[in-house]
């Protein structure tokens, strides 16, 4: 029992809490940035894969299709390792930042690129699902109004597609938060990595001098609780949105 109390005393340490809190912040920032940039890239990929089917433009369609299929069918960790070696890091990210060392900022940038590449392929498929659900009459109507293809996409098709996929995109945020824990494999930046780091030095904080089983339960349990609170809140939002979408919309 005293082991357990000793383990809980780790969480009473302000520095430890601050350390974990920073990890949570990094997890959230990385995931949000990854999803937002992935929506941009994914939209382009989805549009190209769906509508570039005339003559020369077919090449782009094939490229987009291969991009999506390759990234969807290989693990994220492989891409993180690949980006570590091959992704160039711009000057802007090559110095101390956000309380990380130079090496860590570089790693963070490269891993974030991998996460964005990976997530954008999944989001492209989600957006494509939204695009496929749009009635063909919408294109004809926009065309009849004199919109060119870019205007049709930007003003008519994409807004409708986005509205259809908002719940799925939000649940993708959940998946991305979970996926971001793969960054723990290469650097101590986000929540998962920090908790693992704390575990390996738990003997310094819990006062008993050794690492006990209860430390594993307390530390990982605490991290699981944080992840659960964030993700469960999101999935509740998703569910209420889905319920609202299912209700038939009555035209006034």
């Amino acid at each position: 029992m005293s082991d357990l109390e000793a383990s809980f005393s780790i969480l009473k340490n302000t520095n430890v809490l601050l350390y974990i809190g920073k990890g949570v912040l990094f997890t959230l920032i990385i995931s949000v940035v990854a999803v937002l940039s992935s929506i941009l890239i994914g939209s382009v990929l989805a549009l190209v894969r769906n509508y570039c089917n005339k003559g020369f433009a077919k090449i782009f369609r094939i490229l987009a299709t291969w991009y999506i299929e390759i990234f969807r069918n290989t693990p994220l960790l492989l891409w993180i390792f690949i980006c570590l070696v091959f992704c160039p890091c711009p000057e802007a990210f090559s110095h101390k930042m956000f309380g990380l060392t130079t090496v860590e900022t570089k790693l963070l940038f490269k891993a974030a690129v991998a996460l964005i590449l990976f997530t954008s392929s999944i989001i492209a498929e989600i957006i494509r699902g939204g695009l496929n659900a749009i009635a063909h009459g919408q294109f004809e109507a926009a065309h009849a109004q004199g919109f060119n293809i870019v205007q049709t996409m930007v003003y008519v098709i994409l807004p409708q597609a986005y509205r259809k996929v908002v719940p799925t995109l939000l649940s993708q945020v959940t998946s991305t938060i979970k996926d971001s824990s793969y960054l723990a494999n290469i650097a101590t930046i986000e929540l998962m990595a920090r908790v693992k780091q704390l575990l390996s030095s738990a003997n310094r904080y819990n006062g008993t001098g050794t690492i006990n089983v209860s430390d594993v339960f307390v530390l990982f349990g605490f991290a699981a609780l944080i992840y659960f609170i964030i993700n469960y809140t999101l999935s509740c939002v998703v569910r209420s949105l889905q319920k609202r979408q299912k209700k038939p919309v009555r035209a006034a």
């Binding site: 390759i70 069918n73 693990p75 070696v85 091959f86 824990s181 430390d215 594993v216 469960y232």
Partner: protein
């Protein structure tokens, strides 16, 4: 590019092909047993969620929410270190099988639940009125109808499971990705980054791509058939909401 066209780097990969094959074997072994465990858990908890009993439904909800809302990496680490520090280390592969099986089982349970809930209530009542008991009802009436709805998402989850075997890396790793990484960073073997990653990515791709292709084609087929056989009323409704 660290030697994507260099014959020496490719030669190195070929010379150490045993380590890639071992990684593939470990990944396949972990995935195969984890799929079995996930299927079992998925069917049990999926049936619990649709049994109509409050307690069983509650237990299955807790399982699904708890597992789906925490990362697989955390679960793997938790299992591994909890067992290691209490003195009964499970070993990397067994930890992977249990963690992946439990994680994917939650998604399988959701797929089973959705499939069973898609069957109209009349089917259950009709089967009951014919004197079928619970097992017969499920086996003869409900499952043959819902298996078509359940299988595509299940195949997608199998693909995710195979990709998630890379979570073994954090606990010491014996899977394909981990062995690839130790190959490219190893003292004697290091440097052949591009060929090694290409090989390991290709191995994953040739396993996962056919599976996800089957799943998406199947789903598309089901959607088309549903549209074809949908009653007239539903199609007019669809048009109204399409024109909103």
């Amino acid at each position: 590019m660290s030697g994507i066209f260099s014959a020496r780097a490719w030669g190195k990969v070929w010379a150490y092909r045993q380590s890639f094959l071992l990684g593939l074997f470990n990944t396949a072994r972990t995935a195969a047993f984890a799929i079995l465990l996930a299927l079992m858990l998925g069917i049990i908890f999926g049936l619990m969620a649709t049994s109509g009993k409050k307690i069983l439904y509650g237990i299955s909800r807790i399982y699904v929410e708890l597992i789906q809302n925490t990362p697989i990496l955390l679960q793997t680490c938790f299992l591994y270190y909890a067992m290691a520090f209490s003195g009964h280390s499970l070993g990397i592969i067994l930890t992977g099988i249990i963690a992946l099986g439990v994680y994917t089982g939650a998604y399988m349970a959701e797929a089973v639940r959705a499939g069973i809930e898609a069957i109209p209530k009349g089917q259950f009542e009709a089967a009951q009125s014919q004197g079928f008991n619970y097992l017969e009802r499920m086996y003869y009436i409900i499952l043959p109808q819902s298996i078509k709805i359940i299988l595509p998402p299940m195949v997608n989850q199998v693909v995710n499971l195979i990709k998630n075997t890379s979570c073994l890396y954090i606990i010491g790793g014996a899977d394909l990705i981990s062995l690839t990484y130790s190959f490219v960073t190893g003292e004697n073997t290091g440097g052949a980054y591009a060929p090694a990653y290409l090989v390991s990515g290709f191995l994953f791709f040739i396993i996962c791509y056919p599976l996800s292709k089957i799943a998406s084609t199947w789903e598309m087929y089901l959607k088309r058939r549903e549209q074809r056989t949908a009653p007239v009323k539903r199609t007019t409704e669809g048009e109204v909401s399409g024109n909103e």
